[in-house]
């Protein structure tokens, strides 16, 4: 296993349905080094969210394998996967997905509760610090329903960071926000990433957002199509590649092992 590959996918296929089979992902082989900010883009239905969910241990591939820090996720039971998600991953979804029964501080603490029960004072201090970091110190004791959409998403970011995750998975984190709020959230994510050198995979349909990443991969119809490193080749050239119709990853997304298609 590649030592630099925090996340490695090997020939990942995903097929939905049994009667009517519908293949969403084709032989995805991909390595994400530690510390990288990877943006997954593509039109809707391209399979980018499915890939993110498979990497995030929320879904299992039909065939192929996902290795995270060398651990093959196929070897883990459902219960182990749950514990793995709790300990290792931080999720930020398009909709904030906070629990309305709890206040902001409690929502940030939930990942800790799941793993370890009653939080000690220092743990609460960390949650408070995270809330302060996302600019919501004043709202700690507020009910979730009383917060704005942007505030809720920022609480979700604080929650994702609670258990010191190695990998942040974000699915359209600004999708439900207005442009200005969305920008603030992205800035916040960038700052936090720089501070802690966290690995992040973000699904977005927004090309401008994607171009802020270290690496952009475009999926088309469930296959890897384009790959650019905007910081290496510059925003201008990266934009040109992404706007062209030709794939630059032809060799990667041609199936090497023939699939049993109907």
């Amino acid at each position: 296993m590649d030592d630099n590959g925090l996340v490695v996918t090997q020939n990942v296929n995903k097929i939905y349905g049994t009667a009517v089979r519908y293949q969403v992902l084709f032989n995805i082989t991909l390595t994400v080094p530690r510390g990288q900010f990877l943006a997954l883009i593509g039109p809707s239905g391209s399979g980018k969210t499915t890939l993110l969910n498979i990497i995030g241990a929320l879904d299992r591939p039909t065939s192929g394998a996902v290795f995270i820090q060398g651990q093959n996720l196929n070897d883990l039971s459902e219960e182990d996967l749950a514990r793995f998600r709790n300990k290792f991953l931080g999720f930020i979804f398009q909709f904030h997905y906070l629990l309305p029964e709890f206040n902001a501080l409690e929502n940030v603490l939930i990942p800790y509760w799941i793993a370890s029960g009653r939080p000690k004072g220092e743990i609460v201090d960390r949650a408070m610090y995270l809330l302060e970091r996302v600019g919501l110190k004043e709202a700690a004791k507020k009910r979730i329903n009383l917060l704005s959409g942007g505030q809720q998403q920022r609480v979700a970011i604080a929650r994702a960071l609670m258990n010191f995750p190695q990998l942040i998975l974000a699915d359209e984190p600004t999708g439900a926000l207005d442009t200005k709020t969305g920008e603030q959230v992205l800035e916040l994510l960038a700052e936090i990433r720089h501070e802690s050198n966290m690995t992040m995979i973000m699904v977005t349909h927004n090309r401008d957002v994607a171009l802020q990443a270290d690496r952009v991969i475009e999926l088309i119809d469930g296959k890897l199509c384009k790959e650019v490193y905007p910081r290496v080749i510059g925003i201008k050239e990266a934009t040109e590649i992404l706007e062209s119709h030709a794939c630059n990853l032809e060799d990667i997304n041609t199936p090497r092992t023939p699939l049993q298609e109907e």
Binding site: N86, F91, L99, E101, P111, I114
Partner: protein, 407 residues
């Protein structure tokens, strides 16, 4: 994990406040009715048993092969068996003082009363009636029949030639205190006695046929010469009679030992079917409670589908999420049944007040049966836990991806 599940469960219940409140009230109503009903039935039954055997012997020791005739008239079985095996007049207890002394030293026995018993006839002037003659020692027999309290006329004394007669018999023969009576036995012996008083044992047949006289003249009338025909016993706990009778049988193997149960089969079967119907009602109340909780929790799983998905996505295990719903069931059960216990207690107090205020119209009172209360609370809580199993399984089956994909 338990602490986490408890915290989430508590918040879930708190957030759907009216739903939670309604189901807790439902459980409260069910459990309080269960507790009230079981106390009412046991109070009623205790009263019935007290009425039946409170002033009758609980255990009778008689010689082998002699069916005692001192039975409660309601019992048919004994009449039949008495006909089947003819009374052997010679059967008697000879060294009764020794047995009597032995019995008085037994624990759990309240009183043992020697008895000479037989049929005879009494005559006053032209009027004759056949009667049951009961030769007793008043100091012992009084503890069973409460003759002192139940004497309606005259004085409760039977020393020498004094007798006490039932009120109905006195009316039949137009007897008054101080009248003389001629008593004749089938053996051909007779004697003249003085009516010291009349008694009312609350049973018409007994009041019309029983005559109490002292043991010694009764022995003479029946030619028993120092022997007696039976020993009647009352015990502290009426339902221990079978157990005590077994012990007595071990000490006194040569005698027949009969308990009140064998003489009151009909009453017992009536009590049993009453208990059964009360049990049935309680069972179906329990079923209703269980179904109520189950339906509330099933709805709650659907309502909380989003939260369940989030919790699972950020790492709650299937066991953890199942626990959340099991705990909800347990909390509902525990709260509801505790409140129900409190309210049931209140209902019982209310009934007690009503019984006191009724001035005898409600002829019995009820007490809280602690064992029944604990049983009901525990069983209801367990049933609530049971009710939560299906919702817990539903929550377990839910995958986070379904929730996240559907927003």
């Amino acid at each position: 994990m338990f602490r986490f599940a408890l915290r989430i469960a508590w918040r879930f219940l708190k957030s759907s406040r009216s739903q939670t409140l309604l189901i807790v009230l439902g459980i409260t109503a069910g459990v309080s009715i269960q507790i009230f009903l079981s106390s009412l039935i046991s109070g009623l039954q205790a009263n019935l048993i007290q009425q039946t055997v409170g002033d009758a012997p609980h255990i009778i020791i008689a010689p082998e092969d002699r069916t005692p005739t001192s039975v409660t008239p309601s019992s048919k079985t004994v009449v039949v068996s008495a006909l089947a095996s003819p009374v052997k007049e010679e059967a008697k207890i000879l060294a009764w003082q020794q047995i009597h002394g032995l019995l008085l030293n037994q624990p759990n026995l309240r009183v043992a009363s020697p008895l000479v018993e037989g049929s005879g006839s009494v005559r006053k002037g032209e009027l004759t009636r056949s009667v049951v003659l009961k030769g007793i020692l008043l100091e012992y027999a009084d503890q069973i029949y409460e003759l002192r309290e139940r004497t309606t006329q005259g004085i409760p004394q039977i020393g020498g030639n004094g007798v006490l007669v039932g009120v109905e018999l006195a009316q039949d023969l137009r007897l008054r205190t101080g009248d003389l009576l001629l008593i004749t036995t089938p053996g051909g012996k007779d004697g003249t006695f003085i009516v010291n008083g009349t008694f009312d044992l609350g049973n018409k047949t007994i009041n019309a046929s029983w005559v109490f006289l002292d043991l010694i003249p009764a022995q003479n009338l029946f030619g028993l010469e120092g022997a007696i025909s039976a020993i009647e016993i009352q015990i502290d706990q009426v339902f221990q009679s079978e157990y005590i009778a077994q012990n007595l049988k071990r000490i006194l193997p040569q005698y027949t030992i009969e308990t009140w149960q064998t003489r009151n089969r009909q009453l017992l079967s009536a009590l049993r079917s009453q208990s059964l119907s009360s049990f049935m009602i309680q069972f179906f109340v329990l079923v209703a409670i269980t179904l109520g909780i189950a339906s509330v929790l099933v709805v709650s799983v659907t309502q909380k589908i989003r939260e369940i998905g989030i919790l699972k996505a950020i790492g709650t295990t299937n066991t953890g999420i199942s626990l959340v719903f099991l705990i909800q069931g347990m909390i509902l059960g525990l709260f509801g049944s505790s409140l129900g216990a409190l309210f049931g207690f209140f209902l019982i107090r209310l009934f007690q007040e009503a019984a006191r205020a009724s001035g005898g119209a409600i002829p019995f009172s009820i007490t809280l049966n602690t064992r029944a209360l604990v049983t009901i609370v525990v069983v209801s809580t367990l049933a609530s836990l049971l009710a939560a199993i299906s919702p817990a399984r539903q929550a377990k089956k839910l995958t986070p991806i379904e929730v996240i994909r559907n927003g």
